[in-house]
Amino acid sequence: MVPPQYYLLLSAAVFCIGLFGILTRNNALLFLMSVELMLNAANINLVAFSYVWGNLTGQTFGLFVMAIAAAEVAVGVGIILVLYRDFDDVDVTKATTMRW
């Protein structure tokens, strides 16, 4: 039996790695990957506390978080396609205007 604190520590570490990626990267695709890391950090917590309470609500909720992440990635990749088409790059710092 792993105490719940260690799940929380793992989740915090994954979240902070995702935060670091968002703060430092310029590539839009790496942005998406970092957001996925942060969402999955939340998923670790949901599943861990589902185990702690012996109730499956957390695991089911984690499934829904994954579905929302899929929707977010679909829209994000669409935005990246437009970004590449209009600026010939996926560097988010190049797109400084909201018009094209």
């Binding site: 979240f15 670091f20 012996g54 669409g78």
Partner: protein, 123 residues
């Protein structure tokens, strides 16, 4: 252009410190907290089947969970909206509204645009 991620100490120092500081704060908050001993799930309980029952409001699962039918339907609408949004974003705006499907991977179009007609592969 292919770039690989590099750690630049100059510009990445402050975000790195911020991330590490957030981790330290969260760890300091988590470690002294006391949680009850994990209850876990019963030996041989059908976890996957119970999740499936919980998603459709069926009260047949061996492990208790709340019902998620409304969330399930909401996510259905969200996924359709995201799919339509992604297609709308990725669609190419052509001037006359008609567009022929390029089935050769864009090779012919590229040759026509660049002007050279060296055909390496003739199929």
């Amino acid at each position: 252009m292919t770039t690989k991620p590099e750690l630049k100490l100059g510009s990445h120092l402050v975000p790195g410190l911020a991330a590490v500081a957030l981790f330290v704060v969260m760890a300091a908050a988590f470690m002294p907290a006391s949680f009850p001993a994990p209850q876990g799930f019963a030996e041989g309980a059908g976890i996957t089947a119970s999740i499936g029952y919980a998603m459709f409001n069926l009260d047949l699962g061996e492990v208790s969970a709340e019902s998620f039918l409304v969330a399930f339907e909401t996510i259905d609408i969200l996924l359709v909206a995201a799919l339509v949004g992604a297609v709308m974003l990725a669609r190419r705006e052509s001037g006359d509204g008609t567009m022929t499907v390029v089935t050769d991977g864009g090779r012919r179009l590229r040759e026509a645009l660049s002007g050279d007609d060296d055909e390496e592969v003739s199929d």
